[in-house]
């Protein structure tokens, strides 16, 4: 039962194969003997022409193929170059332009799979030979296929209302498309809303962010749902069905005008509970508004702390105080179902939990703060009205800022969080400005790559801030000499001098790094995308598709993709918006024709395949008593094909015979290769 017959014809068609191997400059040619592969393939049955070329993906490279198709009447094309994930489309388009069905093309990956991962030229060449042979055998069985187009629903869902989500929402809304912006917290604004000033220009964060927040609220094309979470996502590019849960605020959003009379009227005269927005450094009441510029300006109840939710015995003075009757303590979660064509995930990041690095004494010593806490402390609307004070209420005379807390550390996170150097410089400036204290920056490497960033560093050095190059080993209350008594002592090697120093300070600021949110994995599962090793969302290509994901129609922007600062987040949000808009304005997207289909005359109607389809694309035709695949629903995984017990389902591009011949091609050759290797080694 052989699959290819000796004379190299299949069902009456004589294949005329063209094989092209790419040098990719030195990327492939340095490790794979390109000429040898080219000659080897030339000797295989069915191969009419075999060529090597410096850059196959270049215009002249593509023209080479097109010329051969026309002149040599080629009907099958194999290109051995990089990963098909990178250039398969390029070559298919080239083949199509030459008048051949693009699916008579097959690509061999000899860069990512061979030259870059092998350190022996003979072995790499042998492997490339085997892969090329397999492709030649496989391409015999390729068929002419048509691509399918699906329409794109123009509505966009944006998850996350930080600066990235806000910017993406406004960009798309301004382009005239409808946006659903879903935010988990009661207000949009994200981390940026907590910051005091922004580096390096020292603009007030609120001054530049608040106008954008209110634009979002007022934009006719934006449906803003705060205090809401995505529960379920179904469908595929162009047509996602999303279920959203709107958590109860116990205040009717449409009626509340944010007058805060209810807050004043609360039976708690004093605020009692830690205020999340101020990092727990101040208190709020059970009914509250996160911060004065919160958007929307709607109060909400915290049922955990409100007496009425616990005992039902409150006098409910808040309800009486509301003229507009906006308070509804019986509110229940509301569920929305929306249809969108594309999604932008801008779910943001989380700061490193400094308690995981106990050597710095966070939570152990009251005067050790995280950078986010200091942002609130230096902020005029923060818990101390902008006064920088120690827990004892004194103005600190010396402050140490420790960089890289949780970053560049195998025990915490290996990566550099990119923003800490710059924000530490900013905080150093602000603390010095507010207190006149001696400020020490303890850094491993100062990383200021950005427009105006190095100049900002320069400015700080001139302001007299201390820079000690060394990673702090410990913050301790262990005093060795009198001047260290009642202070926190920082032990560090000043590596530029080569001496261990003990520096007593009144306040320590931990420049905590950025990490993925705890539920990043849940979100990525819901949207069917991947995370990279460290847990941030994985982009389709680090350079060429930085805001796309492996799932069509899902884009990512901001801190959820990796540590980045405000300008980069905004730029990325713009890019994601542009990607979404480009899909919308194309109106439709072409899908790979790798769908499965059932050959009706062969199907026995055993129904084995029907429950296997995750998209319910297979149904049973009661008339013919056979199974039928709805190709519009099929996503092309091939599970049903592998499971069909009578071999009656075929998957385009991955037919059984194609794969069998690929296997044979890989292996039959292996024997020859061993002999060849022996010759080489002898």
């Amino acid at each position: 039962m052989s699959n290819t017959n000796g004379n190299g014809t299949i069902k009456g068609i004589t294949p005329r194969i063209g094989f092209y191997i790419c040098h990719c400059g030195h990327n492939i040619a340095a490790m794979v003997d390109v000429e040898k592969v080219q000659k080897f393939v030339a000797s295989l049955p069915g191969v009419v022409v075999s060529r090597d070329y410096k850059y196959m993906c270049s215009d002249p490279g593509q023209e080479l193929v097109q010329k051969d198709i026309k002149e040599l009447k080629l009907n099958r094309i194999v290109v051995a170059s990089c990963s098909p994930l990178l250039h398969e489309h390029t070559f298919r388009r080239a083949v199509e332009k030459a008048g051949l069905n693009p699916f008579f093309f097959h690509m061999v990956n000899i860069r990512e799979n061979v030259s870059w991962v092998t350190d022996n030229r003979e072995q790499a060449t042998a492997k490339a030979n085997a892969l090329a042979r397999a492709a030649i055998q496989r391409v015999f069985f390729h068929k002419s296929l048509e691509t399918k187009k699906v329409p794109i629903n123009p509505d966009v869902l944006i998850v996350g209302g930080g600066i990235a989500g806000i910017h993406a929402a406004l960009t798309i809304a301004n382009a005239g498309k409808h946006v659903y912006l879903v935010e988990r917290e009661p207000t949009i604004g994200g981390h940026m809303a907590m910051f005091d000033k922004t580096f390096p220009t020292l603009d007030c964060a609120a001054c530049i962010l608040t106008p954008k927040m209110s634009s979002v609220k007022n934009h006719p094309n934006i449906t803003l749902w705060t205090y809401s979470e995505v529960e379920k996502v179904e469908g595929f590019v162009g047509n996602y069905k999303v279920n959203i849960k709107r958590k109860p605020r116990y205040v009717i959003e449409e009626l509340c005008v944010g007058c805060m009379d209810c807050i004043d009227a609360c039976i708690y005269k004093e605020a009692k509970y830690p205020d999340e927005f101020n990092q727990g450094l101040s208190k709020r009441k059970p009914i509250y508004i996160p911060f004065p510029q919160a958007t929307p300006q709607v109060v909400l109840f915290d049922p955990e702390t409100c007496i009425d939710f616990k005992s039902h015995r409150c006098k409910k003075t808040c309800i009486e105080a509301c003229d507009r009757k906006a308070i509804d303590l019986k509110q229940v979660p509301e569920y929305k179902e929306i249809n969108v064509g594309t999604v932008i995930l801008a779910t943001g990041f989380k700061t490193y939990d400094a308690e995981k690095s106990p050597q710095y004494g966070y939570k152990k010593f009251p005067n050790v703060f995280t950078s986010l806490e200091i942002e609130r402390i230096v902020n005029a609307s923060g818990p101390t009205n902008g006064e920088v004070l120690t827990k004892e209420g004194n103005i600190p005379k010396s402050v140490g800022i420790i960089h890289c807390v949780g970053s560049r550390d195998e025990k915490a996170h290996k990566w550099c969080s990119r923003v800490c150097c710059m924000y530490s410089l900013k905080l150093a400036h602000l603390i010095k400005e507010h207190t006149g204290a001696e400020v020490y920056n303890f850094y491993i490497d100062m990383r200021t790559p950005g427009k105006g960033y190095e100049e900002f560093y320069d400015k700080l050095m001139n302001e007299g801030v201390h820079f000690v190059r060394g990673r702090v080993a410990e913050v301790t209350d262990w005093a060795l000499i009198p001047e260290e008594e009642h202070k926190l002592t920082i032990r560090v090697e000043d590596t530029l001098i080569g001496v261990v120093r003990r520096i007593p300070v009144d306040m320590v600021v931990l420049a905590v790094g950025m990490e993925p949110r705890e539920d990043a994995q849940d979100i990525r599962r819901m949207f069917n995308i991947s995370c990279s090793t460290e847990g941030f969302f994985l982009e389709r290509h680090p350079k060429l598709a930085p805001v796309s994901t492996f799932t069509d129609g899902i884009f990512i922007a901001g801190g959820c993709q990796g540590p980045r600062d405000i300008p980069d987040s905004v730029a990325q949000a713009g890019a994601a918006a542009a990607e979404a808009l480009s899909l919308i304005s194309a109106g439709s997207i072409e899908l790979e024709p790798n769908t499965a289909s059932i050959i009706e005359s062969f199907c026995s109607g055993c129904k084995s395949c029907i429950p296997l389809c995750p998209y319910s694309a297979i149904s049973f035709n009661e008339g013919t008593k056979k199974a039928v695949i709805n190709e519009a629903l099929c996503k092309g995984c091939g599970t049903c094909v592998a499971a069909c017990p009578s071999g009656s389902i075929i998957q385009n591009l991955f037919e059984d015979e194609q794969i069998f011949s690929e296997i044979d091609g890989l292996l039959k050759f292996a024997g020859i290769e061993l002999e060849e290797m022996e010759v080489v080694n002898a």
Partner: protein, 219 residues
């Protein structure tokens, strides 16, 4: 060959120049690549079972956490850099290697997971085999005596061990500690008796086999 210059001729106390140690304050602080040992880092990485030392970011956490780094001529961080760059002789002659108390705090704190204590052990072994350790420096002497004692007896006897060490390095110190020894003896915490395991033969075989295997490996 005429074009090569003997770098030693540039030494401040070399005969070619006139300083002759008169200007002791002035120390030569230049290294030529030819003075460095390019395979030193591989040797140490292998001996210390880890190539992670190549990834040192020179943050100085090891030095800052080390309880004795302020006595060292080079801090542990510097030692790592010197190892990486092939400053073989300087490293092996340094006091750092012998001051390391093996408390492992650097190993625990290193953000790059470098097993610095093991690097120090590797350097100790390398220094001993290169004959670089200071003759009257007690630590290597202690180590060698300890080694000999365990080889012969299987166990260590603290009394005789310390006696021997003091005699070899600094007999004066032994006198200083006589009082301490006496009190220990009085409270039953020290004897001059030599401890040993019963089956010393099997121990000899064990160690002999290691020697044999090493010889075979060397061949």
């Amino acid at each position: 060959m005429d074009t090569t210059i003997d770098v030693k001729s540039f030494a401040p106390n070399g005969k070619q120049n006139g300083y002759n140690g008169k200007a002791k304050m002035i120390n030569r602080k230049i290294k030529y690549e030819s003075e460095l040992s390019s395979d030193f880092k591989e040797t140490i990485a292998e001996l210390a079972h880890g190539e992670k030392l190549y990834g040192c970011i020179q943050c100085g956490t090891c030095s800052a956490t080390c309880p004795v780094s302020h006595y060292m001529d080079y801090t542990p961080r510097k030692i790592i850099q010197m190892v990486r760059e092939g400053f073989r002789d300087d490293v092996l002659k340094s006091s750092t290697v012998w001051l390391c108390a093996s408390c492992y705090s650097c190993t625990v704190e290193c953000p790059k997971g470098i097993k610095i204590t093991d690097v120090m052990y590797a350097l100790k072994r390398e220094a001993i085999s290169a004959g670089y350790f200071p003759k009257r420096f007690p630590t290597p002497v202690l180590a060698e005596n300890f080694f000999a004692q365990v080889l012969n007896n299987g166990r260590n006897s603290e009394g005789p061990l310390l006696m021997k060490m003091y005699m070899k390095t600094n007999p004066f110190n032994a006198l200083k500690n006589t009082m301490l020894a006496f009190r220990l003896w009085k409270t039953g915490r020290l004897t001059l008796k030599t401890e040993h395991t019963k089956d010393r033969k099997s121990l000899k075989k064990l160690l002999g086999s290691i020697d044999k295997q090493k010889e075979a490996l060397a061949k």
